[in-house]
Symmetry: D2
Subunit: 144 residues, 4 copies
């Protein structure tokens, strides 16, 4: 997929750094490509729910962010991206030493872009297991 905004990667990195919620939970951008974004989250005990797994809302936070930027990477310069809606299926308990959210645009569009995102739990030995999957609609807002 071809980006319309030549400086999309810089803008995504700058925007990500401005997301206080990503800083709070300790997430970082690990891949920025046209239509594809990866975000990494190390396990932290303060992100868990009552059974000791990462909270579904925190899992959602990283994959929603990844989906948003995946859509944004294909939008024209001067746009803003907005999450319209997403659905998340929680496939397994979110356990692991770290977590990887990977988002990929399925259908870019002038106004709406549809993105699929997966979250993997990664154990000590580097083994990945799919823990959640998202199907999301993102919207392009033109500032002008």
């Amino acid at each position: 997929m071809t980006p319309q905004n030549p400086s999309f990667a810089d803008e995504i990195r700058r925007s990500f750094d401005g997301q206080a919620a990503m800083t709070l939970i300790g997430a970082s951008l690990s891949r920025v490509d046209p239509g594809i974004i990866k975000i990494t989250l190390p396990y932290r005990a303060n992100l868990t729910q009552q059974h000791g797994y990462i909270h579904a809302g925190i899992v959602t936070s990283i994959v929603d962010t990844a989906c948003g930027y995946a859509a944004y990477s294909l939008m024209p310069a001067g746009s803003e991206v907005l999450s319209v809606e997403f659905k998340v299926n929680l496939l397994r308990p979110a356990k692991g030493k770290s977590f990887l959210a990977r988002a990929e645009v399925i259908k870019p569009g002038r106004t709406l872009t549809v993105v699929r995102g997966d979250v993997f739990g990664i154990d000590e030995s580097g083994q990945k297991e799919l823990v959640a999957t998202m199907l999301a609609t993102m919207m392009c807002l033109r500032k002008d």
Copy 2:
């Protein structure tokens, strides 16, 4: 709706207190009734996304938690509740002095319970505005 577990309210309060992620973001339980749960979240700058609104994942965190406990309140003693999946429509920017997630069971079931949740932003004057709505499936796990 009639609870099967007479001590559901105590168990929900204890369970909520055990959710590190809820402590991290500053959320608190504000209503615990059979089939209905409310959670309150004061605005904090460290919960925001790049435009200064509360991150969609944080909004999801409180309404998913509310939906889970709303389902749990109607489950038999000795059960555990698990989020199977949820869909969230983000209706307006999540701005406000505080936020209220309200969840209500639409259809309780032996194995699966369907719950609707709304999140309101509340401004200085106490005015409420719907910012997101969730439709979720929760699962009952029997420990025995």
Copy 3:
């Protein structure tokens, strides 16, 4: 909710009559109000799945149509409505002598409108039971 298009009701009735799929399954419009639409579907054996209940896709057909027109009723003259996405929870087997889909706009918008829809099964004695619920996003396309 206030309609922007004074002839919305006539246009919805005309548009509905042009939906061959609605004719095929025997559905009819039973209420057209600003932001609220009802569609009725009598039981027919040729609409069933393998267990003899109305097929989930047919249930979806009537509630998607109702949600689309509920959104359309609030759009300006000269618009077209498009289903962006929907999620359906199937709460009970779709059994009954007839079925009622009821859609109501939760959040109208210039481009996107969010609509909730419920489908009820109605038995011989007129008793209604909720069999499915939809949460949908509809888009306004301006012809000009």
Copy 4:
């Protein structure tokens, strides 16, 4: 993925033939493999909505059926499959000479199975275009 029920393919074909709704719309099973199902639907004018495209509910009918049998193909003998919920993103107008729904299990489970489904429109020249994508939860009911 390994089927538990050696006669799953025969049972799926027999069950599909018992779906009156599939007969009504003219759909047929075109592939039955463990965890993967394809259903084909030729274009018919009586399946359309007001703009002449195949109705979103009909699109949903074929992909929900495909997702259900993809899940069923991995269930033990003597089970029944039930659609719990699905979300559909409608990516492009459903136009074509015929339509192909392809479903694949993402995560099989004892009680719940998560399935992804895609619907393609196929034109005169055999060119395929993705028109919709589904993310669905299916439930296994054991008869005994």
